[in-house]
């Protein structure tokens, strides 16, 4: 694993919580990889970056939620599903753990 990027839009309040969870999991695994924060400011940027909502996390350019990555680019809060089916504005711990394997 070489690169972890967290794309966010300031209009959605979820990215600090997502970053905190991601960094916690990295620390638990002793992984010294910096989470690169990348702000998306315009719809045009969202289209160029294929940004389906905030937060979007890519590990070595691969979205941690491939299904959600297929949504149209948008300046919005991204929807994730928890293992029990509930909606969440950030990925679940389990989803991030799977992506970090």
């Amino acid at each position: 694993m070489e690169r972890i990027e967290l794309f966010y839009w300031e209009g959605c309040p979820s990215h600090p919580e997502a970053k905190e969870l991601l960094e916690q999991l990295l620390a638990e695994r002793g992984m010294e990889v910096e989470v690169e924060l990348r702000e998306v400011r315009t719809q045009q940027e969202a289209e160029v970056l294929r940004f389906p909502g905030s937060p979007t996390i890519r590990i070595d350019d691969r979205d941690i939620d491939p299904a959600g990555a297929a949504a149209p680019p948008a300046m919005t809060c991204r929807i994730y599903r928890l293992p029990d089916g509930r909606v969440s504005p950030i990925p679940s711990r389990e989803q991030l753990e799977e992506a970090l394997r």
């Binding site: 209009g11 959605c12 309040p13 979820s14 719809q43 948008a74 300046m75 919005t76 809060c77 991204r78 929807i79 994730y80 509930r86 909606v87 969440s88 504005p89």
Partner: protein
Amino acid sequence: MSLALAEKAPSFTLPGVDGRDHSLDDYRDADVLVLIQSCNHCPYVQAWEGRMKAIAGDYASRGVRVVAASSNDAGNYPEDSFEEMKKRAERERFNFDYLYDADQSFARALGAERTPEVFVFDRDRRLVYHGAIDDNRDETAVTTRYLRDALDGVLAGDEPPVAETAPVGCTVKWKS
């Protein structure tokens, strides 16, 4: 700037997903009126939606009416169009009125900034609580139920234990 505590509820007449127009005066019989700035697409709204329904159901017999409205720009957020609101209300079996604020005057009058954002009005339709539904989007981690506590307080003739909290959610999507 949000409506201040003790200020009167703004008048409105908005179409509902039930095909009828709804105005502030239609809720005159309610002892307490809860207005929720809401929408379809926001994950925070969706995370709290079950609690919105539970509160509407639990307090209906105690004279509380819950009314949600979406003001989001449907041009840029088509999931928040009136047609999609109707579909969501039916699919999720909303037990509260869900109104469409196409010109965003409702949101502006409340000074709403987030979805979901709650405004509770007493019998005289003065604002007694403003903010979040509770203190965690994750229902399993909630420790303080602001809205329920406020309703219990007002219905008992007291002040809400907490009158203002910071709403957490998506921003209202204003038209440019």
